[in-house]
């Protein structure tokens, strides 16, 4: 088993499942965290992730196939998507793909799913299609406020990690999002995004 990535909350290994390549995602216990809190978080997220990662396929969002879930060790065996995270693609490509990412997020929201951790590392570009990964913070939610939290996060990431292309990328993202959720919902969510931003510390209230 080869360690691919020490992620923020889980370690990602390359392994095999029934003779085909697979990913093992283990949420290891964290020594700094209180044990009660630690096991609660790990178990809850493992179950949520496994559920939602499969559920999103039913409305056409691409995500890894789940092979096996072990709640005792907070481990998930899943399909490997051997593509490139959007985060690592050239700027011009990211701008182009932003529209598709917006569409995908719109589709999630339309079907009552909040992703909870929308960063450009969690979109994988593979064979000309985009897969979404990492559903650990996902929730079943139709609350506009939750959907706005999703959009605010990806906006924050574009504004920090992809500052040079923020304008065009965010514009494309919203175009894609709007084409799925419709103009009314789009306007409502964007309004909530600025409301959340204005609640932030020392925000410039426009």
């Amino acid at each position: 088993m080869k360690l691919l990535k020490k992620g923020a909350e889980a370690d990602i290994y390359q392994t095999t499942w029934n003779d085909s390549k697979a990913i093992l995602k283990i949420r290891k216990s964290k020594s700094y965290r209180n044990p009660t809190l630690d096991s609660k978080i790990r178990k809850h997220r493992t179950i949520k992730e496994a559920q939602i990662i499969s559920h999103v396929k039913s409305f056409g969002v691409l995500s890894p196939l789940v092979y096996f879930v072990n709640t005792k060790d907070s481990a998930i065996f899943m399909q490997e998507i051997p593509g490139t995270p959007v985060h690592d693609l050239p700027n011009s490509k990211i701008i182009k793909l932003s529209k598709d990412m917006g569409k995908l997020v719109g589709t999630l929201h339309k079907n009552g799913i909040m992703h909870g951790d929308l960063t450009t590392s969690n979109f994988i570009f593979y064979k000309n299609q985009i897969y979404i990964i990492d559903f650990g913070l996902s929730q079943n939610s139709i609350k506009p406020e939750d959907h706005a939290v999703d959009l605010r996060l990806i906006k924050e990431i574009l504004n920090s990690a992809h500052a040079q292309i923020m304008q065009s990328s965010w514009k494309n993202f919203l175009l894609g999002y709007k084409s799925i959720v419709g103009a009314i919902k789009h306007a409502q969510i964007l309004h909530l995004v600025s409301e959340i931003e204005s609640r932030g510390r020392y925000a410039t209230v426009v």
Binding site: K5, Y202, T204
Partner: protein, 327 residues
């Protein structure tokens, strides 16, 4: 080069003198007077500003005396222009303007939050860190990119400092309450489940505050312990997320809450996991002080020649990610 820094954004009125030679800075003096509200109460901006007015001349003369210099030796004057409490900010600005116009010294308005970061870098030697700024006014994760500090995560409502202070005051402590809470927390190891709210790289503390207040009715030490464990685990997780996203190899904590030992311990563990160097600003300079302002002004003087008196603003809301950093 000799600079004077004046800090008056909140509780603290402070003046400091730093001597800058090349890239190196030496703090010659750093004098502070801190306004203390009554136990169980928060800062009152007007009362705090009166405290600052009463103490400004004593602090200034003591600061010059300890540095063994006179006003005429100063090459520049800097003051914290925001973010902070309006009445308090104005006191520092007035002192700075008076000195600058009477003695004809160049004047620099400085962003208080950047002050925390720049002094942290000077004192710890961190070169390209992910910064965790935790204080009464801020809870932010920042990294430097394209001449600006960019926010990779922050609180969506109240800050970590406010969480600790507001909870502490509700059980009768005097702010800042961090140390009292830490002491009481160490007498318990009974974890009561509290709301844990991490949204991507961001955190939200307001629900945690209300829930902890109700736990405190049953048992204060359990409440302190559980509050610290939950809030700091949330911060640690946000840090882990930002570290793995930015791939930084250094973490630096600055701000008043950096003095908390339990928080440092948890973050040290995070750094070990990610093979990352860990820096904490020395406790003496974790809280607000003139040195933070002075050092940032000195850095700015490398590329700017100061502003004219009519442009010496103060602003209560001044986000650090809107400041261009050219030095």
């Amino acid at each position: 080069m000799l600079g004077l820094g004046i800090e008056s954004t909140a509780h603290t009125f402070s003046c400091a003198v730093i001597e800058k030679k090349g890239k190196k800075g030496k703090i010659l003096s750093d004098v502070r007077k801190i306004y203390h509200p009554e136990d169980g109460e928060g800062i009152h901006p007007r009362e705090a500003s009166r405290h600052h007015i009463d103490n400004s001349s004593i602090v200034l003369s003591q600061c010059l005396e300890e540095a063994k210099i006179s006003v005429k030796d100063l090459d520049l004057v800097t003051y914290a222009a925001g973010p902070g409490l309006g009445p308090c900010l104005r006191v520092g600005a007035v002192v700075a303007r008076s000195l600058a116009s009477f003695y004809k010294i160049p004047i620099y308005p400085v962003n208080h939050a950047i002050g925390h970061i720049e002094l942290g870098k000077l004192l710890t030697g961190a070169t390209n860190p992910l910064v965790l700024l935790v204080s009464g006014g801020h809870t932010m994760l920042l990294a430097f990119l394209n001449k600006q500090w960019r926010v990779f995560g922050e609180t969506l409502d109240i800050t970590l400092g406010q969480l600790l202070d507001q909870f502490g005051r509700s059980i009768g402590f005097a702010s800042p309450c961090g140390r009292n809470i830490e002491e009481l927390a160490s007498s318990s190891s009974n974890y009561v489940t509290l709301p844990y709210s991490v949204k991507g790289n961001d955190v939200s503390f307001s629900g945690l505050l209300s829930a902890t207040k109700s736990v405190a009715k049953e048992n204060k030490s359990d409440a302190c312990y559980s509050l610290q464990e939950t809030a700091f685990a949330m911060i640690s997780e946000a840090v882990e997320r930002a570290l793995s996203f930015t791939r930084k190899k250094e973490l630096m904590i600055v701000g008043g809450v950096a003095a908390n030992k339990r928080l440092s311990e948890m973050l040290k563990d995070v750094c070990k996991r990610h093979g990352c160097k860990f820096f904490v600003v020395p406790i003496k300079y974790a809280g607000d002080c003139g040195s933070q302002i002075c050092w940032t002004g000195l850095l700015e003087s490398q590329v700017k020649s100061g502003v004219s008196i009519k442009d010496t603003f103060v602003t209560q809301s001044w986000r650090l990610d809107s400041v261009k950093v050219d030095y």
